[in-house]
Amino acid sequence: MKKKMNITGIILLIWLIGSAPGAKARTIVDMAGRHVIVPEVIRSVYGSSPPATNLIYAVDPGRIAGLNFPLNGKDDRFLDSRLKDLPVAGGWFGQGRTPNMETLLSIRPDIVLVWRHTLSMKDKDMEAALKPLGVPLVFIVMDQLDDYPAVFRFMGHLLGDAERAEALALYAEQTLSRMKTLRDSIPEKDRVSVYYAENNDGLSTECTDSIHSELIPVCGGDNVHLCQAASTYGMQKISMEQVLLYNPQVIVTHALEFYRHVFSDKRWRGIRAVNDHRVYLIPRTPMNWFDRPPSFMRLLGARWLAHALYPRRYPFDQDEETRDFYSLFLNRPLSDQDLKDIFKP
């Protein structure tokens, strides 16, 4: 293992000398506990999957080396204009879009930032594929919302921008502590039951312990679909009768098509959430607030959902808080029209 490390170090050194004369290197310990030699100043970072890339975006959009998938066009105006000029390098996530090694070589990132998948073989595949590149891999851990303060501080240390990272970490801590206070204040019997509807028919969902539905328990809700997630991908199919049986008090969804027809569809009649008009469409501009991909947007998403579940216990000035969050994390002041677009179904 040690020998391997040395060889990697030597290759890296040769590469460094060849590419950036005079650049110094330093050793850091990444979040998986590995010792990694990285350049003293990191100018460009390639995130191996969208959650990692989003994290770089929050700290400094200027240092993203390449995108994982193309911008979708409609939300571009919320994002840094420099992103438009970046090459689409692909990534290790979902299906397809495996990166082209030559594209990666041509964008020459200083480091590759990898969200460690504890549950899959992906890390091994990726490490093997990236080895010839000679770029150090830095692992981050953000499996839970609780990991965000640490991951922001780690990024600040890595990219040499501790001040900004600290501000983001403090926001994350504030969200987490507010959610804890909220959770502790709710008696067991008052907890709201929540169904997370995915897919256009609203009949796919996530298990209780899935990362995809993490915000529900964080905000003090009870996910009705009690089970253990069998895969990191999720999206379990469920029958209409099972949903009727669960009879949730609240439904959250990111599927626009489902949200549009749920109140007129006869089959969904009779479910408490539908009768009480407590079906909430998750904002997705420019990134999803709740899931897919799980990102730092969930720090705002948690506050929004907490208010949706417990309007009285958790007051939330939607416009104000959204403005604050977007200007802090995305560096994007919002106009009234922007706010309308974000919350428009």
């Binding site: 969208p50 998938f69 979708n72 996530f93 979902g94 299906q95 397809g96 879009r97 995915e198 897919n199 256009n200 028919d201 009949l203 796919s204 679909h225 089970c227 999206m235 379990q236 199919k237 469920i238 029958s239 209409m240 009768e241 099972q242 009727l244 049986l245 990111h254 599927a255 626009l256 098509e257 027809h261 569809d265 006869k266 089959r267 009649r269 009779g270 997705r284 999803n288 897919r292 991909p293």
Partner: protein, 337 residues
């Protein structure tokens, strides 16, 4: 005469299975609830008066009924078009997707999911591209001289591969967090999104096509003996073939609208039927319709009953169909047709 009894027996089985399915489900609403609801309605009371009755009405008539009818309709449509294709192409390995209808419809649906988003657009686009793929393969077959059937099969392979490649391209371009999962799930197939409304506008063309195919069964018998023999019997081979392909395509494309891609039914069920009633299309086609409905209904019951999550229907039909198909292949060596 013996076959008539078999057909009657299968019909009775199908009806019994449909009736049972009404009272099976994840929601505990069984026979007694059903009787309760019917007696409530017989007393000419409106179910929307009472919340419990409204829930029961919803479960029986909006959730279970369209699924049961949908399963029967899709199963029989796929089996009939499979059986018709098998006797027309004189080949036991042929399924309704031979001429590219499934590939075309998959591409059409995926494209609509990326560009239009509404469910209706997805249905229309799936139907249009399914038919287009079949036209393409028929057009390709006309371009070349040679054995008509062989050319049709080759045309189908070309058109199917073409649309499969286009589908992969759409998947590649789709948004990986929003559109791609929707496409993948749709392609797996399932009856959970069948509604009474969809059934309403799909059942007339399906039943009409099925009727036409059944009326043409004597010609199918002639065709399955070979082109020359059919001609010598005075059959207008080209025309009959065109009608068969048109009806079978229409039916398969409409099943895709309702339930996505459901594999194996169109391949395996005609063989089951053939093992039971023999190769005479006049009996085979109606039996295939009944057995197909029964098969898919049973599979769908499994899919919605076994776990709290639904098992995608395409997986079940394949898993249960494959052992049977192996059996059929063994049988086939003894002589087919």
């Amino acid at each position: 005469m013996k076959h008539l009894w078999v057909v009657i027996l299968i019909s009775v089985l199908l009806m019994a299975c449909a009736l049972c399915s009404f009272f099976l489900g994840r929601y505990p609403a069984g026979l007694s609830d059903g009787i309760g609801l019917v007696s409530w309605m017989v007393q000419s009371k409106n179910p929307s008066m009472d919340p419990d009755m409204r829930l029961l009405e919803n479960i029986f008539f909006n959730i279970r009924m369209p699924r049961i009818l949908g399963a029967i309709l899709v199963g029989s449509a796929l089996s009939v078009s499979g059986a018709a294709f098998q006797s027309m192409f004189i080949n036991p390995l042929v399924s309704p997707g031979l001429l590219g209808v499934l590939a075309g419809a998959s591409f059409g649906a995926a494209m609509a999911m990326v560009f239009f988003k509404s469910f209706f657009a997805v249905q229309v686009s799936a139907f249009v591209f399914g038919c287009m793929a079949v036209f393409l393969s028929m057009g390709l077959a006309r371009l070349f001289k040679g054995d008509r059937l062989l050319m049709l099969i080759l045309g189908g392979i070309v058109s199917g591969s073409f649309f499969t490649a286009l589908l992969s391209m759409v998947k590649y371009l789709a948004d990986p967090y929003d559109q791609l999962p929707a496409i993948v799930f749709w392609l797996m197939g399932g009856l959970s999104s069948v509604t009474n409304q969809t059934l309403g506008y799909v059942c007339v063309p399906i039943l009409t096509s099925m009727g036409i195919l059944m009326a043409l069964t004597p010609y199918m018998n002639a065709l399955s003996m070979g082109e020359e023999e059919a001609r010598s019997l005075g059959v207008h081979v080209g025309l009959i073939r065109f009608i068969l392909i048109a009806c079978a395509t229409l039916m398969s494309a409409l099943t895709i609208i309702m339930a996505g891609i459901i594999g194996w039914v169109g391949l395996v069920v005609p063989h089951m039927a053939r093992m039971i009633v023999g190769p005479d299309n006049r009996v085979l086609i109606p039996s295939a319709a009944l057995i197909g409905g029964l098969y898919l209904l049973a599979m769908d019951d499994l899919s919605r009953l076994v776990f709290t999550v639904e098992i995608p229907l395409g997986i079940l039909t394949a898993l249960c169909g494959i052992p049977f198909f192996v059996l059929v292949l063994r049988h086939a060596r003894k002589g087919w047709g």
